[in-house]
Symmetry: C2
Subunit: 453 residues, 2 copies
């Protein structure tokens, strides 16, 4: 099972914490909470129902507040911010890096945003305003402007002397960037090279220019893909004139990489990544009702197809009994083809050149599955109702539906994408509408042909 270890560990913390909360002694809770990393505290807060969440949030070391806010989904973040005074928020954000601060700023009440900006020194304020000037979900928002640059004409010795003078390097620095006078990006030098080469070595012999810099307006998803395609730990960010603006590190990208898959896992049920497990029921209901409303409209379309066959159903009630079987098998087979197609689209593996082979493969799978399950279902239905004609009708309908399901599973996500509708979200209800409609129609029209006297 994929997540057992984490489950056990986190559930264990949760139980200890819950017992301590029950006992009403907050000292032990505070001690427990503050042994955790900010990401773990975030995970814990997401697991707590609102009342307990607020109690525990009050016990978190104020120094960690900012980092914790970074590690929770947007809905939970909103609920935590609602519990804080403006002063507390300003204090919580004080120690954050510029990129992290920029991420939070969008979620803050406007009065607080102004206060945060006022509380900063001019240099940091300018850097934050700069970061906020880039659109959300782009490289500009992910980068940290704190980078160390050296000149190509220096030697290792000069650089070492400069670094000792400079003191501490930004967190997770594994390489320095080489830039020219106009601060344009030329390449990078690994810290490990500085350590292993002779002091007299010129920097320009150590420059690694294999890694292209990321343009500042690159979408965050594309940044994540480049990181995972190249196993990067960090990457330089430049403007349109190749001027070095900052540096993105993998820890800022890991969440995006995970969310790309998470988006599909949740989207298929019409949910989004920021959904709070313990949202207020009214809010949760509102969030889900658009999805359910569309589903209801589609269900009426399906019902109206069944309605065409009222006369048949009146005469052969066994059709009503068996018809959900045809629809359900079609739905499942369709979702299998759709899930693969949606993943292929997300990973950029599907384009005009290979849609046809995929369609051919999935339809072949549909035919094979259709024939296999037609035989099984015909045997079972035939035995149950003792009617060979009924068995024939369901076998034919099953084969037809599984073939159409395969085509729909591949075709519908592609169509949705072309219409600029996210197939990860809309795919499953549209495919199910289609397989239900085809399944009921095929079965009931077969039934009308073969069974109505």
């Amino acid at each position: 099972m994929a997540d057992t270890a984490r489950h056990i560990r986190a559930a264990h913390q949760l139980r200890i914490l819950s017992d301590a909360l029950d006992s009403g002694r907050l000292g032990p809770v505070r001690r427990l909470v503050n042994t955790l990393s900010p990401a773990e505290i975030g995970n814990l807060l997401e697991s707590l129902p609102p009342t307990r969440r607020n109690v525990v949030w009050g016990l978190v070391d104020p120094e960690d507040d900012g980092e914790v806010l970074l590690h929770v989904g947007e809905d939970v973040r909103e609920s935590l911010l609602a519990e804080m005074d403006p002063d507390e928020i300003v204090a919580a954000l004080e120690d954050l890096d510029i990129d992290d601060l920029a991420e939070l700023m969008d979620d803050l009440p406007e009065a607080v945003t102004a206060e945060v900006l006022r509380s900063m020194d001019r240099e940091n304020r300018e850097r934050l305003e700069q970061a906020l000037s880039y659109p959300e979900d782009t490289a500009g928002r992910l980068m940290n402007p704190d980078v160390v640059t050296v000149r190509a004409d220096a030697t290792v010795e000069v650089v070492l002397r400069y670094l000792r003078l400079r003191g501490e390097l930004p967190e997770n620095t594994d390489r320095l960037y080489v830039a020219n006078r106009r601060h344009q990006y030329l390449g990078q030098v690994a810290l490990s090279d500085l350590l292993t080469r002779e002091p007299s070595t010129p920097i320009n012999t150590l420059i690694d220019d294999a890694q292209p810099a990321i343009p500042v307006h690159t979408p965050a998803n594309e940044v994540a893909n480049r990181f995972s395609d190249h196993d990067w730990i960090s990457a330089p960010v430049v403007d349109e004139n190749n001027v070095l603006l900052g540096r993105i590190t993998i820890d800022d990208v890991v969440d995006i990489i995970r969310d790309q898959a998470e988006h599909r896992a949740l989207g298929a049920a019409g949910l989004d990544e920021d959904e709070d497990l313990f949202a207020s029921p009214l809010r949760a209901m509102r969030r889900r009702s658009l999805w359910l409303g569309i589903n209801l409209a589609l269900a009426f379309v399906v019902a109206s197809i069944i309605g065409l066959f009222e006369a048949t159903l009146e005469q052969v009630v066994a059709l009503a009994v068996l018809m959900p079987i045809v629809a359900s098998m079609g739905g499942n087979a369709g979702l299998q083809a759709m899930t693969l197609t949606v993943r292929g689209l997300a990973l950029g593996q599907l384009g005009s050149s290979n849609v046809r082979p995929l369609m051919v493969k999935e339809i072949t799978v549909g035919v094979l599955n259709g024939l296999l399950w037609a035989v099984v279902v015909a045997a079972a239905a035939g035995l149950w109702f003792g009617s060979p004609m009924l068995a024939l009708a369901i076998a034919a309908a099953m084969t037809i539906n599984l073939v159409f399901a395969a085509a729909a599973g591949v075709g519908i996500p592609l169509l949705l994408r072309r219409m600029n509708i996210d197939p990860a979200i809309a795919g499953s209800i549209v495919v199910t509408l289609f397989t239900d409609a085809i399944g009921f129609f095929a079965f009931l029209s077969m039934g009308t042909l073969l069974l109505v006297p």
Copy 2:
């Protein structure tokens, strides 16, 4: 849309490649392919139907073969290995790190495994055998045994001299590990500290021992969780006596982090992460048939519930027309609650202490949704069939089903987990069985009560 940028870029490569393949001139294809990183080539190969995949695989620079094999799913890897001679495989694996090699060894034919081991020098063979001695999906398999250690009693100057003598450091080294004589792990020193401190600084004043080492038998998922909880770039691995064995870097962990979410996205359709988009139809059919077979059995259970009401259906055929609406709404609402619960379980956010509040919240959502949609569906059905009693029956059934759906969406994944069945895979069919069964039963029994004379 989550993945548009990657989609555009990769689809573009795919089209160029496809055009070049169509033209039959392989020179441009080879040049294009070899401008890509191994991960990009892997992604590309996964996008190609079998014939083209084999052509392109033959054009990949043999030096990249090993890295490419690492970057494809298991099914595709198998299809690529099947195209290679044993000699080619041995050559492809030559330059890989020990941890990467260990990952591939499990998928190799036994004759090739022996040949690979024979072709290695003794030191590397021993290291590989060591790596293979750890169970799959544990820290032991992820780590690279190539680490640089220093002594606590040295000074920065001594270490710098040692590093210059030693030459190149292992890839992605951002810190050195401090160990004692018995090679036990004491802490780490950041390369940036070595660069910024005075040469006379003793190493023991620079040791950072905040990061705990990872025990070698830690499951891979747990390793991934620690990395993402603490924003680590790398971590030391130790045996039960705290002896340093190796080092895990984030690039080896990113794939696991992604797969945790991917597992849920694919599992809900009964697929697994290694499924090949272009698997042979027979293989794909076999893979999916267990899932469809279980679904069929469950669909017959649902049909037998409908069968209980044959007499009612004969008299009120409108019930047969409308019953899929009740089932479909219940299914969707149930999947929403289930998807949230399965994610909560995967993230370790659900334990005995907060299941009840989640259940209460979801049931409240179910009641609210139930009432809302009951009114809508009753109005629509009442208008359609002109029967207030029918409207009342569907309203009651809808409310009942949405409440049960909420309870099932939370309860069934928890129950499955307790039975050691992966809720990410089994959850959706079991929840749907439940909501179908309740939906049909509630609606048809209401119909019998209210509509049968």
